[in-house]
Symmetry: C2
Subunit: 442 residues, 2 copies
């Protein structure tokens, strides 16, 4: 598996220079890393593609090949797979569609059997490929190479992968379109990611799981070491039908999946937004015990946060005598009459008030994490608030801080500053609360 | 009430030039409309503020005053209200806090009784003021004047109002911070908005409702004419406590509110994001009968949309023979094997495929609205897709189209184009489905 994500040499079979083709997309993406590894193109109909010589067959390449990528019409995939096996390549990714999802089950089994006979792992068919941003490896036809980070994203849907990769906030260690899972399946990847030091969080979009028992066994193991967050589509009857025509997967009963995921320690979420909200927090913040503090300059938003915390079983400890007296001693905060959790700093709060409040709450033993809400009022110092939060995050690194800076243009630069420094910000109170909830050890 | 939103003359009592004060915020905001109406400042401690002469008392102003805004320490509010009444001003907004929310119930009743005796409507106390963007009237200390549109937003929380006003996408006809409701209450505003031609949707954040029967009677009437969307905070016990210290409101039992809102035809939502997602769709799109079409270039996202539709009771009619044959006849779409609803145009769909698909579905009788999903794939023509959607929206104006263009930088300009032209786009499939659901007549 290591060869798939760290190949020293790659052959692309079906390289093309025709605009808008998968063969060109793949060729361009692979060449991004041409100084880091050997790239070979195979296409008997071309002399060269993008200035790189084309071989007639993979068998004509003399050097060792760690990874081959096949993007040719489905009819000739079988032959090419066979050639790759004869060449004893390290691994094969079949991009081509037109297999199980198009009713061609036998054809899919044939290529799987060839690869298995030669003990060469085969990924796909009907997938987008894989990306390892950390070493500039884009062995996919996704139009954009994502930013380097510590989230591994696995998707049964190629389109979804594209849109996720194109989101600016998210940073990835691996991006994997696993397609029809003829040979290598979702669970194999999860098992590999267990010991991948660069991956902190595993995020999954799936429609169905091939081998439930195997998944549960591995997921249970892996989720003890790093969090797994997943979303399943094809929950309703009509959705299941649609899955059938999409990836040819058996979507199965959602309630069964819910139970299985819970037993495996996988966080199953409802929306894509939630998948990435939670992945972001899990990838950048420490886990904590239950007990959260809330600091706000808008009372109403503090109340909403409390409601959502209650719904999710998050405790909001009252302020201790020590905390209250430390707040009372401070001039910046004397206007704040109600010294509760949530702590409403009032609309005219300047940064000094935020600083005192945040630190006092972080110091309290049974407050293990913090949500900081800031709305753009007349005097609000967004950027100063962001800087203070970063300083206090560094001073109290074990207590996660999640922000909910609301507003438009006037707060954008403060939010950018927070995010650049690994402090997630969510534009809705519930999204912030859900995210901190995912950090709480339960 | 008309005088409140269309005053010909305004007096600000407590105008100030001191940085960071409410008195300065109000003065600056009011002067934005100084060419459209007379603005008077009152402050016995100043000769002038921002170049405008200060009167010692409102009684010294000879001209008629339609609206007075009071932003002075709570202790002297009573006297000022009395003076305003003696002056027979058209309406009074008391910005000052320090009344019911601070336990000063008697003081609040006193100012209410004075105003009622003189039959002068009094808004507040403890509020941010009101904004009528359509005539450049910002009689509030919100830091930003929102864009002109057709959503009326009423908020019991000032801070929340600030952050909403600062969001770029939302456009407002009225923005109202109604504070403690000593005299004029939420329901009075809703009743006024019923016949306000510039308001198409009424959006509300509230913590509690003063007079439940009155609210239900009026809301039932108004919601037949224009949609009312609302969010309530203070649902949990702990949340109710927090409400008490925030606005001094009795938050009440949430299940009672849920029933009351349903009976009144009010759409009660769970999050602020939902409040504004739904308000946006309701403000820009027509209502429709049940029966929705889904067009996508990513199968997985289409499946997710189906799941959410099922959850919300949205019907997804199968494609009729006429629709299928019109699709089959078209060259652009021949690669698409599965002609179903959702219609998966496949990853390599160009705009021509979107054009044929969208129009064919819109032509089908029992498809009354459309969700168009687009993910950034190798060849996706985001901007062309956006233009086609706009053209077809104009050709079929009675069938709402909601977009879900996913991705980051590469799709931003297409999304901007859609939004500028009144086609809402949501960055999550569920948010798009929820929004179209709010348009379905049930």
């Amino acid at each position: 598996m290591k060869k798939i994500f760290n190949p020293k040499s790659i052959a692309l079979i079906g390289a093309s220079d025709e605009l808008g083709t998968v063969g060109l997309g793949l060729a361009e993406n692979l060449l991004e890393g041409k100084d880091l590894r050997k790239i070979y193109f195979v296409n008997p109909k071309r002399q060269e593609v993008l200035g790189i010589k084309c071989f007639d067959s993979v068998l004509d390449i003399k050097e060792k090949i760690d990874l081959t990528i096949i993007a040719v019409p489905s009819k000739i995939v079988k032959n090419i797979v066979f050639n790759c096996c004869e060449k004893r390549v390290g691994a094969i990714i079949v991009i081509s569609s037109g297999f199980k999802e198009a009713g061609k089950i036998k054809e899919e089994e044939e290529i799987r059997d060839i690869a298995r006979k030669y003990k060469i792992p085969l990924i796909g068919p009907n997938c987008l490929g894989i990306i390892n941003p950390l070493i500039n490896l884009n062995a996919s036809f996704a139009p954009i190479t994502p930013k380097k980070g510590n989230i591994a994203f696995l998707s049964q849907s190629g389109a979804l992968l594209d849109s996720v990769v194109d989101k600016n906030k998210l940073r990835f260690s691996k991006v994997i379109s696993y397609g029809n899972e003829a040979d290598v399946d979702l669970t194999d990847f999860i098992e590999y990611l267990k010991t991948d030091k660069e991956t902190k969080v595993i995020s999954i979009y799936f429609e169905g799981i091939k081998d439930g028992r195997k998944f549960m066994r591995i997921a249970k193991e892996v989720s003890k070491i790093k969090p797994i967050v997943a979303i399943k589509s094809g929950r309703s009857d009509k959705g299941k039908e649609a899955v059938g025509t999409h990836t040819g997967t058996l979507a199965g009963d959602y309630s069964v999946y819910q139970t299985a995921m819970k037993q495996s320690g996988v966080i199953l979420v409802d929306t894509l937004e939630e998948l990435f909200d939670i992945s972001l927090s899990l990838s950048s913040l420490p886990k904590c015990e239950n007990g959260i503090g809330i600091v706000t300059n808008g009372g109403g938003l503090g109340v909403l946060a409390v409601d959502y915390c209650f719904e999710m079983g998050i405790e909001i400890p009252g302020l201790s005598k020590t905390t209250i007296s430390s707040l009372e001693k401070n001039k910046a905060i004397e206007k704040v009459i109600n010294k509760n959790n949530p702590l409403d700093l009032l609309g005219d709060a300047l940064s000094d008030r935020y600083a005192v409040a945040i630190e006092s709450l972080l110091k309290q033993d049974n407050i293990n994490g913090l949500i900081v809400i800031s709305t753009p009022q007349l005097m609000t110092e967004h950027e100063k608030n962001a800087k203070i939060i970063l300083e206090l995050r560094n001073k109290y690194p074990l207590k996660p801080i999640i922000c909910c800076f609301l507003g438009g243009e006037s707060v954008n630069s403060a939010i950018e500053y927070l995010e650049l420094n690994g402090i997630p910000n969510y534009p809705d109170v519930k999204r912030a609360v859900k995210s901190i909830n995912s950090l709480i050890k339960k």
